[in-house]
């Protein structure tokens, strides 16, 4: 691996004032394009990105792609096999499976991105504060992180979903507020090592307040690993949501989620096995694609973490 492709430490734009701001900006841009070049070299990641982009469009405007209404019931056609009219067949009450899969994409994406955003915000905040201030603040927050990490996640999610009543937003909030701990760990460790670096010491000497130092100088330098971790955990969150919905503690009827489609079809596993085949394939492909993008990003942004 060539040494020049290591990510450069963020150059502090304000300290070397007098018009060097433009230089820093240009440097940042070239760093981005270098990362993109490195990402492009990983073929599976590029294919996955195209797939996710396509799914993203489907999730944004599902109505354009659904051949039928995703709620239209056809009592006479329960468990209809795949046909020209219904390419993936019909479910246990005659609804078009393809249309429901398409609508389910939106649910999966909302949960994945919204929950990740919540987890990211909490995790980065806690990690930065713990790492930057150290001392008893760090001890307390680190114990909190340990506690959250020690909870068997699915058990916690089911309990919370049952208590607060399962719904789309319960799922988002519950997953978001329980998966932040790994971000906190990564950010804390990185901040610990960054806070003694010259540019941080210099900012402190120049009289900058702690929140400003953290936001402007410390966090930008540790974002690489955080982005990688986020991209790698999106797939896991989609799996979690699907498991929750499958067990009946996630998205509720009639909103179609891939996991709940599976659980609906489960009772008819003998008579209409085709109902449960396609939602599973969608979950699998989507999670796989997010994981591959994560692998590619790791190689591109954070070469230290390469397997």
């Amino acid at each position: 691996m060539d040494v020049t492709s290591q990510p450069q430490p963020q150059v502090d734009s304000e300290l070397n004032s007098n018009g060097t701001l433009a230089t820093a900006d240009r440097q940042q841009r070239s760093q981005l394009s270098r990362s993109w070049r490195r990402f492009r070299r990983y073929r599976p990641g590029v294919v996955a990105l195209v797939f996710i982009a396509a799914l993203g469009i489907v999730a944004l405007v599902p109505g354009l792609f659904e051949p039928h209404s995703y709620t239209a019931i056809a009592p006479g056609e329960r468990g209809g096999s795949p046909s020209w009219e219904h390419p993936l067949g019909q479910d246990d009450i005659g609804r078009d499976i393809l249309s429901r899969l398409i609508r389910g994409t939106r649910v999966a994406f909302i949960v994945a991105f919204a929950a990740t955003a919540i987890a990211l915000t909490i995790g980065v905040g806690v990690g930065a504060v713990a790492g930057y201030f150290g001392g008893w603040v760090d001890s307390v927050l680190s114990r909190l992180v340990d506690a959250v990490l020690a909870f068997p996640l699915l058990i916690l999610l089911i309990t919370l979903a049952a208590v607060f009543g399962p719904s789309l937003w319960t799922v988002v909030i519950v997953i978001g507020t329980t998966t932040w701990a790994s971000y906190a760990r990564v950010v804390r460790a990185d901040v610990l090592s960054v806070r003694e670096r010259e540019f941080v010491v210099a900012a402190r000497a120049a009289g900058a307040a702690s929140p400003r130092i953290i936001m402007r100088h410390v966090l930008p330098t540790v974002m690489g690993p955080v982005i990688v971790l986020a991209s790698l955990s999106v797939g896991g969150i989609i799996l979690l949501e699907a498991s929750l919905s499958f067990l009946g503690f996630g998205i509720q009827r009639p909103t179609p989620a891939w996991g709940s489609m599976l659980s609906d079809g489960r009772e008819y596993i003998r008579r209409f096995p085709h109902i449960i085949i396609f939602p599973g394939i969608m979950i699998f492909l989507t999670v796989l694609a997010f994981n591959l993008i994560g692998d590619g990003l790791r190689d591109a942004l954070d070469p230290r973490q390469r397997e």
């Binding site: 068997p152 309990t159 999670v287």
Partner: protein
């Protein structure tokens, strides 16, 4: 080392304390009247006096922090209380009955995934860029992304319903173990294989491996004598993660195969708002995962003298 063990255990106790508190508080916030749940909605009419008597009998008339204090006091003496919804069945009896099938299932899945993943990952690394390596990596990448509940249902469709080889549910006889263990081990095998391959690749690039080759050792002697043990090191660091994965996976797998274990008990207790049982299961499983984490750190410090804990 002993100081470290004591410190870790002490930290663990604090974490368990935090978790019991959080679970208890969250469950308190749940909607629903415990008495109604016990009697069944509108099924049995009771007078106000009877109602108060029941509340008093179960200690529900006290404020929640007092209830928590009592629960904690009993918990430290090993008393997990009684299930209100299940009319006074002692919680520890239910847990004991359910723990054995769960332990069997998890231990088997743990064993199977270790026995498959370690050799597969090592061989893939040794034969890097070969067809075998590509195949292993493709399967492992797919394995991480597969939803285990879907795999379990597919197994049932093909092996039970189509071919009739294996029972679709239950836990009687060795045949009943095959599908649940496969489903539970799946994600783990995939994760471990990737980890093992990565770790082996790193070790193979070390100077001491080059030295071993340079002094004329056969490739076999180099691998067996100089790499295997070092490459196993990172595997010990994921014990805690694996425990967590198994516990979560267990809930899903048990519910699909109607396995009479903790996962099934947990789901049915959540559905019936049997919070005494829910609380006990959450706390016990958390302690289990926590202990696995502590054990991991100790094992790591013990095996690798470079990391004598700071």
């Amino acid at each position: 080392m002993i100081g470290y063990v004591i410190r870790r255990l002490f930290q663990g106790i604090i974490v368990v304390f935090l978790i019991t508190f959080v679970t208890f508080t969250v469950l308190q916030a749940a909607p629903g009247d415990p008495i109604e749940l016990m009697l069944g909605e509108g099924a049995i009419m009771i007078t106000e006096q009877q109602r108060e008597a029941i509340l008093e009998r179960w200690g529900l008339d006290k404020p929640w922090y007092e209830q928590y204090y009592l629960w904690l006091l009993n918990f430290t003496t090993g008393d997990l209380g009684e299930s209100i919804v299940r009319a006074g069945t002692p919680v520890h009896e239910m847990l004991l009955d359910a723990a054995v099938p769960t332990l069997k299932l998890n231990a088997l899945a743990f064993l199977v995934s270790t026995l498959i993943a370690i050799p597969a990952g090592m061989l893939a690394a040794i034969k890097r860029y070969s067809a075998f390596d590509s195949a292993v990596m493709i399967i492992a990448s797919a394995g991480v992304a597969l939803p285990i509940f879907w795999v379990a249902l597919m197994l049932i469709i093909f092996l039970s319903l189509q071919l009739g080889w294996l029972p679709p549910f239950g836990s009687s006889g060795w045949k009943a173990y095959i599908m649940p263990v496969t489903a539970l081990a799946l994600n783990e095998v995939a994760l471990l294989t990737r980890l093992m391959r990565g770790s082996m690749l790193e070790v193979l690039e070390q100077d001491y491996v080059r030295t071993a080759r340079a002094k004329g050792l056969s490739e076999y002697a180099v691998i067996v004598g100089h790499t295997v043990r070092n490459a196993m090191l990172p595997i010990t660091t994921v014990l805690g993660v694996r425990a967590g994965l198994l516990v979560s996976g267990s809930v899903v797998v048990e519910s699909i195969f109607s396995w009479p274990g903790l996962g099934t008990l947990f789901i049915s207790s959540v559905e019936r708002f049997d919070f005494q049982v829910v609380q006990a299961i959450v706390v016990l499983l958390t302690i289990f995962v926590l202990l696995a984490n502590i054990l991991t750190d100790l094992l790591y410090a013990y095996i690798d003298p470079r990391i004598r804990v700071s």
